[in-house]
């Protein structure tokens, strides 16, 4: 039995089968991914058995590098199975000022052994974004950097444009007055006054909706932002463990928070709602096996190269 599983021919067949599956999945498959199917899991299990049997057969004679590499591969595959079986992942949506210990995974709701309050959510830009108006005609487009009060004269078009007001996150108050909904550039807009001949027209141009309010204009005009790249986004939270002392923490991309056996990751935010933050809560009990496998594999490869 060990001889069959330890066959190199089996290894080549598995490589061919897995390679074909990967090509099919990434290029041709439009349906559900194959990675969750039982037969794909069987291929993975067979590969682990094959590699383990190869290492087992040569246990007494093989070099340390051979054993480390093969043990590492087996550990990573077994860890992947353990991850799949034991992994917990759910979403924790929070609004500024709200606190929750409920997380959601599909239709299921789970309770965490701690609650999380979103104290503040911050977006950080690489620099202060700047606005620009683009006037476009058959010859192409011309950009004009603009601030509040900027006046543009376009003699070729017989028009003058005055920038009356700029909004970062355009919104309307209950009294129908324009006000920024947040300090972030989620819905940038410019109010302009366009004079053509004796006709004056005031209108709002929206960076996110370039087609709006364009009807009837003698030329194409749009508003946009430059240097609006987001550097980071961070949730400042207050974590209250059940029966423990509360503590403050910050969670941002690449800086998760580990607490109570769970890890909280900064997943996303909602440009339409500045105080909303989406955290992912995960606990992976198979991860240690995967990482042990990685360590063994890299150790083995290092020894292998030194030979």
């Amino acid at each position: 039995m060990l001889k069959i599983f330890a066959s190199l021919h089996l290894f080549f067949a598995l490589c061919l089968a897995l390679g074909s599956v990967f090509i099919y999945q990434t290029i041709f498959n439009a349906g559900p991914p194959v990675y969750g199917s039982p037969w794909f899991a069987a291929l993975g299990a067979l590969l682990a058995a094959n590699v383990a049997a190869c290492a087992g057969r040569r246990l007494r004679t093989a070099s340390a590098s051979f054993l480390f590499i093969h043990a590492g591969i087996v550990l990573v595959i077994l860890g992947a199975f353990a991850s799949r079986a034991l992994r917990f992942e759910a979403e924790l949506p929070l609004r500024t000022g709200t606190e929750s210990d409920r997380v959601y995974s599909g239709n299921a709701v789970y309770q965490l052994p701690f609650s999380v309050k979103l104290v503040d959510f911050r977006l950080e830009y690489y620099g202060e974004p700047s606005g620009k108006l683009t006037i476009r005609d058959e010859a192409g487009g011309t950009d004009f950097p603009v601030k509040e009060g900027t006046e543009l004269k376009l003699p070729a078009k017989g028009a003058e444009i005055k920038v009356l007001r700029l909004a970062r996150d355009f919104g309307l108050t209950g009294k129908n007055e324009v006000a920024d909904k947040s300090p972030y550039w989620h819905n940038p807009a410019a109010q302009v006054e366009i004079t053509t001949g004796k006709k004056k027209e005031k209108l709002w141009l929206f960076a996110n909706f370039p087609g709006m309010h364009r009807e009837g204009l003698p030329f194409h005009i749009s508003y946009g932002l430059e240097n609006a790249d987001i550097k980071n986004f961070t949730s400042a939270v207050l974590v209250r463990p059940s029966g423990g002392a509360a503590f403050s923490a910050e969670i941002s991309v690449n800086k998760p928070l580990r607490t109570g056996g769970y890890t909280l990751y900064q997943s996303s935010y909602d440009p339409a709602e500045a105080g909303y933050s989406l955290l992912t809560v995960a606990r992976d009990r198979g991860l240690w096996a995967v990482y042990a496998g990685f360590a063994a594999l890299l150790t083995g490869l290092f020894l292998w190269l030194k030979r």
């Binding site: 190199l8 290894f11 080549f12 490589c15 061919l16 897995l18 390679g19 990967f22 090509i23 999945q25 990434t26 290029i27 991914p33 990675y35 992947a80 991850s83 992942e89 690489y126 790249d229 987001i230 550097k231 980071n232 986004f233 941002s252 991309v253 690449n254 998760p256 890890t263 990751y265 997943s267 992912t280 995960a282 992976d284 991860l287 995967v290 990482y291 990685f294 594999l297 890299l298 490869l301 290092f302 292998w304 190269l305």
Partner: protein, 257 residues
């Protein structure tokens, strides 16, 4: 500064072309004199490229690793030290001229790519970026050298003079690719809480890894000489698809570079 960066990178390109010309002259004229210039031309090329990349790093305020143009220059940067290392171990022209052939081609491809440097998106702002991309690019450089040396052996229709060189290059690339995949997995777990997501780039990297693992095992089963050389060329086609094809044809988490 942009002009100085372009000057050094163009100078490196010119020196790479000169090393190709010297290698071609040595081969066609069957003279040793031009071949003697190749290591010096490649070293000068590497120094010019290092200066260009160093200045680009200073200009961007971050390592130049975040789009395909920058990563391709980084891959080129690894080509020369790898070539020099193996030339010391195997002092034959066949150990040097893969770099002389591959470098102008890669410079040419890099010249076709968009050079626009954009700020790093939040997920890329991590020290793992450096380790992950450097190991992947070093692996691709080793695989490129192995593929060119293998293709040359196949073109000459005789077994590679020094098959040990092909094997050592493939082994080095395989170990570095493993490091690249592992660091990518650890980084993904830090950023998203999932060490493997079956993203197309991940999947094709694993496919490439399996292909090289199979090639190295097939060699043990007796696939030596031209058979092993042909395997290395086929495997490198997978590397090219993983590096370029996935970015241009398939969408995923690696769409930026």
């Amino acid at each position: 500064m942009a002009e100085t960066i372009n000057f050094f990178i163009n100078a490196a390109f010119a020196l790479a072309l000169a090393s190709l010309a010297a290698s071609a002259a040595a081969y066609l004229l069957k003279r040793k004199a031009p071949q003697k210039a190749v290591p010096f031309l490649l070293a000068a090329c590497w120094l010019a490229l290092s200066a260009g990349l160093g200045l680009l790093w200073a200009k961007l305020g971050r390592p130049p690793l975040s789009n395909q143009y920058e990563s391709l220059l980084t891959m080129l940067w690894f080509l020369f030290p790898l070539s020099a290392y193996f030339y010391r171990k195997f002092p034959v022209p066949e150990a040097l001229w893969p770099a002389a052939f591959a470098s102008p081609v890669i410079f040419g491809v890099a010249g076709l790519l968009d050079r626009t440097a954009r700020p790093l998106m939040p997920a890329l702002r991590s020290n793992w970026l450096i380790l992950h991309v450097l190991s992947a690019m070093a692996a691709y450089a080793a695989f490129a050298l192995a593929a060119v040396a293998a293709a040359a052996a196949l073109a000459k229709k005789r077994a590679p003079e020094d098959e040990e060189l092909l094997l050592r290059l493939a082994k080095t690339g395989f170990a570095l690719l493993t490091l690249g995949i592992v660091t990518g997995a650890v980084w993904a777990n830090t950023a998203w809480g999932a060490w493997w997501s079956w993203d197309p780039k991940e999947t094709w990297s694993l496919l490439t890894w399996l292909a090289y693992a199979a090639a190295l095992h097939l060699r043990k089963k007796g696939w030596r000489g031209n058979k092993f050389a042909a395997l290395l060329v086929v495997c490198f086609a997978l590397v090219l698809f993983t590096y370029f094809g996935v970015n241009f044809l398939l969408s995923g988490m690696h769409s930026y570079g």
